[in-house]
Every structure is written in C-alpha cells, then in structure tokens.
C-alpha cells in the first residue's frame, strides 16, 4: 500500500530530471480552424435524428481537436469513426441495459435480505464503479484511435485495476478527511500514464505533489472554514444576533467566487505537475499553463452564459405575456394552463439548452484545449527515431465495440 510519505521520498529520489537544464523543444500548436459550423450542424442533426447522430458529431469534434493539434509540423490523427461508436451503442442497448436491470434487481434482492441500508449502498456504489471501469475502457478506445506520424497509441492495464486503485485511494482520502486528495489524483494519473504507449515507447510518470498541495490545502481550508462559519451563522441567527447577514454574505462570496477560482488554480497546478511528470519513452514534456488565462476563459464563459440565459428569459417572457421581465403570477398561470404555453416553455428550454451547448463548445472547450495545448513544450523529440510501431495488431471484434460503446467520458 502506498503511504503518502513513502510517495514523497520517491519523488525526491526521482526529481533530478526536472532540475537538469533542458534543451529547448517545440511547443504543441493549436490551430484556430473554424469550428462553429461543425457544432451547429452536429447539434441540429442530433436533434433531428433523436440523438442518433451524436456518435458522428462526437467523432467530428474529436477529429477537429486532434487534427488541429500539431507537434513539430505534424498533426495528430483521430482514426475513430461514428459507425464504431454507434455499433458500441447498439451493443450496449442490446446487452448491457438488460444485464444492468438484472444486476440492479440482484442488488435490491440483496437489500431485501440484508436490509435497506445495504441496498442503498449497493445502489449508490454500483453505478459509479461501472462508470469508472468504463471510462478507463473508453480511454483505451480513444488512444487506439490516435496516431501521430502514422504510429498508434495504445493502453494496457484493466478497468478493474483502475477501479481498485480508485477505491483504495478513496478510502485513504476519506480517512484523512480529504487532505490527501492530490495524492489520489496523482495515483490515478500514474496508472493511466504508465499504461499508455506510443508505438513501442511506454509512458512513465513521476510528478511531485508539492506544487499542488498548497493550493489544495487552501481549498480544503476554505471549505472547512465555510462549513464552520455556516454553522456559526445559523447559531448566531438562531440567537437573534445581527451578524447573520454579514456572515451569510461572506459565505456567499467564498462559495461562489473564491472556491471556483481556487479550484481552477489547483487544477492548473495539477496540470503543470502531471504534464511535467509525464514521459513517453525518452520524450519529456513541460507545461507553463497560466492560472490567470484559464480563469479568464471561465469568467468570460459564465458571462456569456448569463447573457444568454437572461436574454432568453426576457425574450420568452416578452413572447409569452407581452411584457419585458415582469411577471404577474396570474398571467403566468394562464399561460402555462394554455396548451401552447407548455409547448412554448418546452421549446424555450430546448433552445436555451442548444444555445448553451454551442457556447460551451466554442468558448469553453475549444479555448481550454488551445490554452492547454499551447502551454506544452516537448523535449528530446529526436528520440522518436528509436520508437517502432508495436507488434500489437489493430484489434477488432466485440471487445473493441464494447470499448466504443462505453466511450462515455467525452
């Protein structure tokens, strides 16, 4: 069992690499090719086909992101197809849903024998466990469909192994009240990277936790502090003291403004540490992703969403009752009672959903992808000439389709 302190000494032993001066290498490029048309077309067709087109849409998006990520002038390639995802989906429908119902039933019957507590624990655990296994399998599919300069990536390791590691670290994290959460993140990343291959070159991983730990402790302290403050505020309010409003305001600022910022700062440090700790064969990486630019992407994204929602609400209310932004409850009730009112409401919800999906792809995912890609420098690219395509053949058959059907992690 890995005990955190042991991990840390191991870091210290392996750290010289980062201390050694690195010759400069090329950066990953993120080309800014037009994406809006793919997104609009993909979402429209997904709606028209009642969701079936989503597999082709997802494939188109991946192809976009992969193809526009370049290293030393050559692009990454996504060779997966919508049809593969679709087949996997069909298999999931044909086999997995019936099995899932049976498993649920067995869980419930177990609950009837051992009591409702066991049933609810089983019910609460089965689904996340299955998702964890499947997300690892889905990563395998994506790597198998990723090529650079003609050579394929692939992934070894098993979903169950990944799940076991997750469980172990969840227990440890729970026992330490969440303080060692960065170690959990690192352990999972280590499992993924060490089972990642590019041709014959295997991934290795040795990231220090220290650069992330400060930000995590701040995050942890804020959450615990907010919880303590929250209970004190409610006690003060119960006692009729006047500090309640002020306390609530502070709590609101902490939870709505400060926590997301600290969380993003933590994620950026984590990204830099994990990228810097990753080696594929003799190729090493580093990232100089900046917290400020990531947070700005998030802020502008939320501003856009807010404008979208407020605008949509104003327009809807204008169309509904002919007045901007003011609702007479009677009007609303009449409106909802009328059949066309319900149709308008459902249409409005769908329209806002579609609009925010477009904004999310164009102004959040694409920007974050570009920031992350451009932050990465690749060293020792010359060692690529020692890499060979591994002997493993391109796989086919049901196993592969299973992977693609469980391609749920997005």
């Amino acid at each position: 069992m890995h005990v955190p302190t042991i991990e840390r000494t191991r870091d210290a032993a392996q750290s010289p690499r980062s201390a050694a001066p690195q010759p400069d290498g090329p950066r990953l490029e993120a080309l800014s090719a037009p994406l809006a048309w793919h997104v609009v077309k993909g979402i429209a067709l997904t709606i028209i086909t009642l969701g079936i087109y989503r597999f082709w849409y997802r494939t188109a998006l991946r192809r976009y992101y992969w193809n526009n990520t370049r290293l030393a002038g050559d692009r990454f390639e996504y060779t997966g197809t919508g049809k593969e995802l679709f087949i996997g989906f069909l298999i999931a429908i044909a086999i997995v849903i019936p099995i899932y119902l049976i498993v649920t039933l067995v869980g419930l019957v177990g609950g009837a024998v051992f009591g409702p507590v066991v049933a609810s624990i089983l019910g609460a655990l089965i689904m996340p466990a299955v998702v964890q296994v499947l997300s690892y399998r889905a990563r395998r599919y994506r790597l198998l469909r990723t090529r650079y300069r003609g050579l394929r990536f692939h992934q070894t390791g098993t979903g169950i192994g990944y799940l076991m590691r997750t469980l172990k670290w969840l227990i440890l994290t729970g026992l330490t009240l969440g303080i060692i959460y960065p170690y959990l993140r690192r352990a999972l990343e280590r499992y993924k990277i060490e089972h990642t291959w590019y041709g014959s070159a295997r991934g290795s991983f040795s990231a220090p936790v220290k650069p992330m730990m400060k930000m995590w402790l701040l995050m942890w302290g804020l959450v615990v502090g907010a919880m303590i403050a929250g209970s004190m505020v409610s006690v003060a309010a119960a006692m009729g003291s006047g500090g309640g409003f002020f306390g609530a305001l502070v709590g609101l600022i902490v939870s709505v403004v400060l926590l997301p910022i600290v969380w993003q700062a933590f994620r950026v440090r984590e990204f830099r540490a994990f990228v810097g700790g990753t080696k594929i064969g003799d190729i090493s990486l580093s990232s100089d992703l900046r917290t400020g630019s990531v947070i700005w992407v998030w802020i502008s994204y939320y501003l856009m969403l807010t404008v979208l929602l407020v605008g949509g609400f104003m327009l809807a209310s204008y169309l509904a009752v002919g007045r901007m932004g003011y609702f007479d409850p009677e009007d609303v009730r009449d409106f909802i009672a009328a059949g066309h009112g319900q149709v308008a409401i459902v249409t409005g919800i769908v329209a806002v959903g579609v609009a925010s999906a477009i904004v999310t792809e164009l102004f959040l995912r694409r920007r974050l992808w570009a920031l992350r890609a451009r932050s990465i420098t690749v060293y020792n690219l010359a060692s690529l000439d020692q890499v060979l395509q591994s002997a493993a053949q391109e796989t086919g058959g049901v196993g592969e389709a299973f992977d693609s059907g469980f391609d749920i992690a997005g």
Partner: protein
C-alpha cells in the same frame, strides 16, 4: 509530373522526404537514398482531406498500415484530380453493413422486449423490495400536487368530520373489506369533494374516492366494490410498480437519446405520456382482489359491475366507459372477467346497514369546518 511529399512508413515516426508520382495502378513514392520505390494501389489509398495539404493513408487487407503521405494540396489535385474516384473509401476495420444490421436488430429487439415484458417483470419483482416507509414518505410528498390537479387548482376538500356519522360508516366499510387482507401498511381512505367520477390509490396506502362515486352508487356494495378494487392496487403496490417501471423506462429513454441537452426533458415528457395509467394486467389483478375481498366480507362481488355498467349507460358516447376513470380503463373484458370470478350468485349482505349507508350518502353534506 511529380510532387514533393512527406512520407511516414508506419514503422518509425520519422519523416522521409519523398517524390510522389502518378502511375497506372496508383501512387508511386520515390524514397530517398535510392531505395526501392513504394507503390500504393488506388484501392489501398485513402484520402483524409485535401485542403492546403493533401493527407493520405494506406489500408491493406482491411488494416491501417500506418503509412502516411502528405503533399501540397493544389499540386496533388492537379496530378490526381482526374482519378480521384479510383481511390479507396472509408477507414480500415470499419463495421460491415451486416454487422450494423445485426446489432441494430438486436438493440431494437432488446428495447421491444424491455418495453413489453422486461420492465413490467422488473417492476413486479422490484416494487415489493422497496421499503414500505419510503413508499409512505413518497405518497405524502406527491399527495398535495395530485389533489391540486384533481380539484383543478382549488384547495382540495375531503368530506366528513372526525367522529361524524359519515366517517364512521366509511371506516366500518374499510374495516370489513380489509379484514384478513394482506395489507403492506395502514389504509387511509377519504372521500374527495370533487365532481368527477374517479377513485385512486396513492403510494403509501392512501385511497381517495371522489364524491360522485358515492352519489351515483345505488347500494353500499357498489361503493365497496370500487374501494376493494383500490385496496387491490394497494396490496399489489401498483403505484410503486408504476414508479419503478417509469423510472427504469425514463433511464432507458435517456440512454437511447443520449445525455444530450434537452433529451432529459423529452424523456420526462415521454414518460408522462407513457406512464399515465396502470397496466391492464394490474387492473385485472386489482379486480381479482376486489372480488375476493367482497366475497370474504359477505358482500356482492358483482356490485362493481353493476356500478360500471350503469355509468356506461348514463354517459354514452365516451370512448372509455367511465368518464374520468381514464387511469382505470374499464373494458368489456374486465367486466366479463369479474362476472366469471364472482361465480354463482350467492346470498349477500350489504357491507353497510341502511343507517350507515344513509350516513355515507350524506357525508359530503356534513358541515366540514376543517376542509
């Protein structure tokens, strides 16, 4: 005419500067250092895209060889523009049409099976396993909304007063019917002061009869028959079955439609449309309980049929016989089935005596300060 290209051999990720030339069978790639040129047959050559750059890859025996070729897009079009139709299509290892067909049919078959057999069976097995206390809590939480829907937005009023003669009569009826019945929990029955002919059982053994059920009945056994039918739903935990059924169905619908924006809305709407009624099977089972309870109580098991048939003749022209009994569609089959189950007519004593029946009849006329 040839064009400069970047070639990757699929074995090592190292670029080779090559010259690319059109020959009769395909593309000839002249390697540096005077090595043997590589020939890609047209059928093996797949075009990823031709823009500023032309990106090509090679597929042999349905395997991606990993070979890649990149050339200037404009020059490539100049050389190969006239033979583009001869190039192969698609990616390696793509599922055949037969495989797509097979799994499509399997998926559709699975969905049909689930919809018509599997979900009902699942609901039947799973519903009794849900703790009774959960069902009671659930019933309490949905009760206000359901009542508001039935009383059309006005505050719902129940008839009778605590300790009044009407309530006493109703309780006597409930007690006689439920004696010996295997109930999952304490029954609570009330008359709802709403002018539609209906009755329903909420989760948690909560039964509501609507005022017209009592007004239109000619004897206490007719009311008792309807009440016994609702007790049947309680015994079989049909509302929990419906809930499990609809919950599982909406999960499946959202799995089919994907977690895409708005699909959950569609799933909920579909669910509302699909899940408005108990299944025919559940209704028949409740009828069986009704006949059984009525016979045990020494009352007339056919009374419920008389009630339904009289309503049908009073209110002709409706698609369902019972106006608002849409959640309990009455069919000729069900009436015949009850007739059969009831067996030979035997002497029956009404569940309530004349005085109690009178009290029940006037329960909604009692002054009701509570509401």
């Amino acid at each position: 005419m040839d064009v400069a290209g970047r070639y990757f051999d699929g074995v090592r990720p190292v670029v080779q500067e090559v010259r690319l030339r059109r020959v009769a069978q395909g593309l000839e790639i002249a390697l540096p250092d005077g090595r043997q040129p590589v020939l890609w047959l047209y059928g093996e050559t797949r075009i990823d895209d031709v823009g500023v750059e032309a990106h090509l890859h090679r597929v042999r025996e349905d395997l991606d060889t990993g070979e890649r070729l990149i050339a200037d897009g404009v020059v490539f079009r100049e050389i190969f523009g006239s033979v583009l139709t001869q190039f192969g299509k698609g990616r390696a290892g793509e599922a055949s049409r037969r495989r797509v067909m097979f799994w499509s049919l399997a998926a559709v078959g699975s969905l049909l099976f689930l919809y018509f057999v599997g979900l009902a069976a699942f609901a039947r097995l799973a519903a009794p396993l849900v703790p009774w206390s959960w069902e009671v809590a659930l019933g309490r939480s949905v009760e206000p909304q359901v009542l508001e829907i039935f009383s059309k937005g006005k505050p719902a009023k129940t008839c009778g007063t605590e300790g009044g003669a009407g309530k006493a009569a109703l309780e006597a009826m409930v007690a006689r019917l439920s004696a010996g019945a295997k109930l999952p929990g304490q029954l609570r029955v009330d008359i709802l002061d709403v002018g539609v002919t209906n009755a329903f059982a909420l989760p948690g053994a909560r039964i509501y009869l609507f005022r017209p059920v009592i007004e239109k009945a000619q004897d206490p056994d007719e009311v008792a028959g309807v009440l016994a039918h609702e007790i049947g739903h309680v015994i079989h935990r049909d509302s929990m079955r419906a809930l499990v059924h609809n919950g599982a169905l909406s999960l499946i619908i959202s799995a089919v439609l994907g977690d895409f924006t708005g699909s959950s809305t569609i799933a909920i709407l579909t669910n509302m449309m699909v899940g408005s009624a108990f299944s025919r099977e559940n209704e028949s089972e409740a009828d069986m309980v009704s006949v059984d309870l009525m016979r045990r109580a020494g009352a007339d098991p056919r009374a419920i049929n008389r009630f339904f048939q009289r309503l049908a003749s009073v209110e002709p022209g409706k698609r369902t016989i019972f106006d608002a009994f849409s959640s309990h569609p009455i069919t000729a089959d069900r009436i015949a089935e009850v007739e059969k189950l009831a067996g030979a007519p035997a002497s029956a004593t009404p569940v309530l005596d004349a005085r109690q029946w009178q009290a029940l009849k006037t329960i909604c006329a009692e002054p009701n300060p509570g509401g």
